[in-house]
């Protein structure tokens, strides 16, 4: 691990809260491209759903998780500096996260996906400001608009979680969001969708370790793995007449 472990008790309650699908941060309105993939006949059953999820976590999932880890590291460093030397420590955080945001935007070709990530990021920050007022100074320093993975990293740091926590959380979200949406879009057994998630668990853990290793890396050197069909599907979805999910 590259980040310094948080002193004090284990923060697993905070991690569970943040990864809970019931957190009112808007994630339930999205299928992460799955609705369009089903509409196009690309995903039909549990097997094709499992493949869909595996492709996602190994490309954009890893990228998002790496940016979450990098955002966690930058936020945690700024908080440490803030604790050491008054309010000045938090000041450079906005610029550091804006630099990350610019790099993540360059790795997200689809304007629709960028818009969604920005909206979800904003909703997460708004939710946290309201439900965890103690995070307010950190979130204020982070800036008003952050792509969702970066917002997750910042919120994770504000709650005392590690870069590995942030990366694991974002990767799990990348797989679980479409898996849960599948139940509403396909005639599929909910046990089958969660069987897919359990099957991916070792890969999710391995990818989270790899993403966490990028926490201290320069923003330019973060992974940039693309998923071109997801980009195309996201643009098709914006013009889709009968949609259940926003993405």
């Amino acid at each position: 691990m590259l980040t310094t472990p948080t002193p004090g008790p284990d923060r697993s309650a905070a991690l569970l809260l943040l990864s809970d699908g019931r957190l009112p941060a808007g994630g339930y309105a999205h299928s992460a491209g799955l609705e369009q993939a089903i509409a196009r006949g690309w995903v039909r059953d549990a097997t094709t759903l499992g493949d869909y999820l595996r492709g996602r976590i190994h490309t954009t999932g890893l990228v998002s998780a790496s940016f979450a880890a990098a955002a966690q590291h930058r936020t945690a460093s700024a908080m440490e500096a803030g604790d050491a030397g008054g309010t000045e420590g938090l000041a450079p955080l906005g610029a550091a996260l804006a630099g990350l945001d610019r790099e993540l935007v360059a790795r997200t070709p689809s304007p629709a996906l960028r818009r969604i990530a920005r909206d979800l990021g904003r909703m997460l920050l708004r939710a946290m400001r309201s439900i965890a007022p103690s995070t307010q100074p950190v979130l204020d320093a982070a800036g008003p608009v952050l792509q969702q993975p970066i917002a997750y990293g910042t919120v994770a740091a504000a709650l005392g979680l590690t870069a590995r926590d942030a990366a694991g959380l974002v990767l799990y979200e990348a797989a679980a969001t479409p898996a849960v949406a599948a139940v509403k879009l396909l005639s599929i057994d909910p046990f089958a969708t969660h069987r897919c998630l359990v099957g991916l668990a070792p890969e999710l853990d391995e990818l989270a370790e790899r993403a966490a290793a990028f926490a201290t890396a320069d923003a330019r050197d973060l992974p940039a793995l693309a998923a071109p069909l997801s980009d195309i599907a996201a643009e098709l979805h914006t013009n889709h007449d009968q949609r259940l999910f926003a993405s």
């Binding site: 869909y52 490309t59 890893l62 360059a106 070709p109 195309i232």
Partner: protein
Amino acid sequence: MTSVSSPPEVLSGLPDFARTDASGPRRRTHRGSFLCHAVIATELRAGRTRIARLRADTPLSPRPTIASGVEPYVRGGDAARIRMSTSAAGPVGGDTYLLDIHVREGSTLVIRDVGATLVLPGPHGERSRWITRLRVDEGATCVWIPEPVIAAAGCRHHHVIDADLAEGACLFYREELVLGRHREEPGSLSAHLSVRRGGAASVVQQLDLGPAAIGASATSVFGAHRALGNVIVADPDGAPGPAAAAPDTGSAVMRQDPSCVQITAVGEDLPALRTRLDTAMGLLGEPWAAPDPPGWSAIPR
């Protein structure tokens, strides 16, 4: 394991930009594979574009050519025209091809290929690399339309494009990547594309395709397709075309920022890909595409 690798690792052990003196890395690396380093530079002299440097390094051989076909995207008709040819099969596993292109202030370079690039596996199963470092200075234009890169069965190839543009530079780039020859199993291809303008990232992506890339055959990534193409247009006067469009189920026009647009398309084979890329490019309008029916194309066949 996937072929995932961060760009710094793929870019290790290379000589500095356009530096070809003997103090650089050894040309012949090991087990018969080698590093070859070609350099192209253009500059503006007395109001006209001239070729300032043209260094061939067998098998990478850039050749000056004359204008051919209609080129409305070349402002004022003034440009240096160069075609890349490779005078031997390759790259083959173990090889590193390095191409440095410098389009200096105010000049215009149109660069094409003589033929497709066929990437073959080497005798020892090593990876091959083709790295192009492109610098486009203030007021300069680079139009780069290479022929397809075909990853033959068994290859492990890294194809890296690292473009560094000045704020007022113009770039047109179109790439076509194909997995395997006709009826052949796909090779493994990792394609890195990075376009930075004034140091800020516009487009950064890595496409890992083929058997070595976990999840690449998923319908969230690349599916059962065999060909993938990208078009990048960076224009300081504003990106052409719509902010976003999906002309069909296998292509999308996506504006990255006010001065940069990307087209991505997939295809079951190269002809299908080209049809989609051409259709999507039609949305960009002149000077990149002719109004319908097309009287000319930036990509003459």
